[in-house]
Symmetry: C2
Subunit: 354 residues, 2 copies
């Protein structure tokens, strides 16, 4: 089990350190674990000017799985585009062909009151957002800026999807739904965009191969409304890269526990990059304030998806539940007046519970 | 005051009829009002195959303002693209140059409990979403479907913005903010898309002309989260056509009163199209169940924006408040157990109150 650890910027290193401890703890006694650290994001820029150095990419390529922290710091906007930490993550996704992004949006009962939604609307929330991660307007060519004949500037990007790109993510969605409540909602904007009309056609066609899974479709504006109105109605949501970016963050925020949510990004061969949904949170970085749970649960996803070690994954997940039930909280999930612990203390408690 | 009435499909005709009554009532005694009815959407397709017939477009061109109902019915997906009712609305927006879409998201205190957000999160909500309506991936060329060398199909669209398109909507945003709480939040995806990087640059540049207005920027994923987390923090949100489609529906749904929200779409000359934010709601069409208030409040926006008749606009708005305070409810805004009235009864009560 060769794992590339790309901790990155901001709170990335702090939370990743705790995730590594959880991983080592659950695998104690195994000599198979090999961790290879490599710089990415702002940290890599300071070293050599490139947020995704060739050596880091090679480390990621050779690893069986990647544990990613976060990339991006204030002031990044002043860097040339290619040097920005966000760009490094996009290049990594593309270079490794990570096309399937799994983002569970799960309400932790112990934290239900942290949601801004009413309890009766959100209690029991458990949806999986499956976001296509390697195509769409994120990577479409041509793109750039040009000067129009009128002399003014124009910025342009290409939103696009091919049949095979849609097919493979659709299969992931239906297969995931089979292991859950057997419902897929596909989100597009087929009433306006040809790229999304093809999306709907292809998802519908793939759906005929899964007659046991109920397929529905929503336009993205209606989907945002429905998620807000009746979030419990959803099981698996499958959507493109751009809409998935928006809807998965929306769903994560609904749970009130964005510091708690892991994610997995897989390629055709099942290689995966695992990362917390939250970002680099530069405002609290270095102060032992960050919640390490999202990163720790990302390790659980890694064990399950990349190494078929469901039992070990569950041990981590149960340990997280245990410490939450014991009342342990980092500051982001503490209710007003409730005392909280730091990143390290939370990580240690979870390791103990494992 | 020559007003084109394009009632369209589903509940469009029912709610528009009540809005016309409100308009006639508030202008009683004036012989200036001239109403011209024309078909649009599914109704127009049944008549002549075209959801936006040339005669309807001409009526809209010659009018001082347009009152629009809704377009679209189940089964539209089976029609060729150009014949779909949604397409008619897009063509109308483009033909008239309606680039500035104002969508207030306002919580009506009498209906606060209808929101799925907790009262302390949403009480006092009053934001204005300003959506660019005539550019972006909605209209960008090239677009379509092609066959790749591999033999598979690809759907593609072009996301684009020019400086002047961004400038004019930015000016609208800052001017609107001056009449409100003097805060503009511009939403883009400048960390990934060149078209949106230009958006951010231009909005920032225009902002220097309004030093009294505070300007902030959010990426669209972060904006969706922030709207969910702290909706009261927002005053004016300005964004592109696609992101505006999603965020304005999200904001509308947050209020719990989507049947209550009007909108205005203006062009450079101040000509406007006024429409309820809700759609054609075919499931309840023809049953005197629809809430006419969004359409009635759209007339108030029309009086204010197109005819500079703020006093008459306020009379309509006050009449709506009055009947709500009296406890009158259509079924969509009634709490469980509360009795409700039909579309016509609600319209009559508001006309009375005017
Ligand atoms: C950092 C950014 C490029 C990225 C994205 O838009 O995909 C992030 O928002 C995410 O969702 O992982
Ligand atoms: C009907 C559709 C084309 C339209 C849009 O996407 O603009 C609608 O959703 C809206 O927001 O007015």
């Amino acid at each position: 089990m060769k794992i590339a650890v790309l901790a990155g910027d901001g709170i990335g290193p702090e939370v990743t350190a705790q995730a590594v401890i959880a991983l080592e703890t659950v695998l104690a006694g195994s000599d198979k674990l090999e961790l290879v650290y490599a710089p990415i994001g702002g940290a890599a820029v300071s070293e050599g000017g490139d947020p995704l150095p060739e050596a880091t990419l090679e480390t990621a390529r050779q690893a069986d799985a990647i544990l990613f922290g976060a990339a991006g710091m204030p002031g990044d906007e002043s860097l040339p585009y290619a040097q920005r930490p966000g760009a490094s993550l996009l290049r990594l996704r593309q270079a490794l062909g990570l096309f399937a992004n799994y983002r569970p949006a799960l309400l932790f009962p112990a934290l239900a009151q942290a949601s801004t939604l009413k309890p009766e609307v959100i209690n029991g929330l458990d949806m999986m957002i499956l976001r296509e991660l390697s195509s769409d307007v994120y990577f479409g060519e041509p793109r750039g800026e040009r000067v129009l004949p009128s002399g003014e500037r124009e910025g342009y990007n290409t939103m696009r999807y091919s049949e095979s790109e849609i097919e493979r993510i659709a299969h992931c969605a239906f297969q995931t739904a089979r292991q859950r409540r057997k419902r897929v909602c596909s989100v597009d904007k087929a009433n306006v965009l040809e790229s999304m009309l093809l999306w709907r056609d292809v998802v519908t066609r793939v759906g005929t191969q899964y007659p046991d899974v109920a397929l529905s479709h929503l336009f993205v504006d209606a989907a945002a409304m429905a998620m807000m109105r009746r979030p419990l109605d959803f099981d698996v949501i499958v959507t493109g890269n751009l809409f998935g970016d928006i809807l998965s963050d929306l769903a994560a925020m609904m749970t009130g526990s964005i510091g708690m949510l892991p994610s997995a990004s897989l390629n055709q061969k099942g290689k995966g990059l695992y990362e917390p949904v939250h970002g680099s949170a530069p405002d609290i970085a270095g102060h032992d304030l960050a919640n390490p749970i999202a990163s720790i649960l990302s390790v659980a996803m890694m064990l399950r998806y990349s190494f078929d070690m469901a039992e070990q994954a569950e041990r981590i997940e149960r340990a997280v539940s245990t410490v939450l039930e014991q009342g342990l909280r980092t500051q982001d999930i503490a209710t007003p007046g409730q005392s909280s612990v730091g990143t390290r203390a939370m990580g240690e408690a979870i390791a103990q519970a494992i």
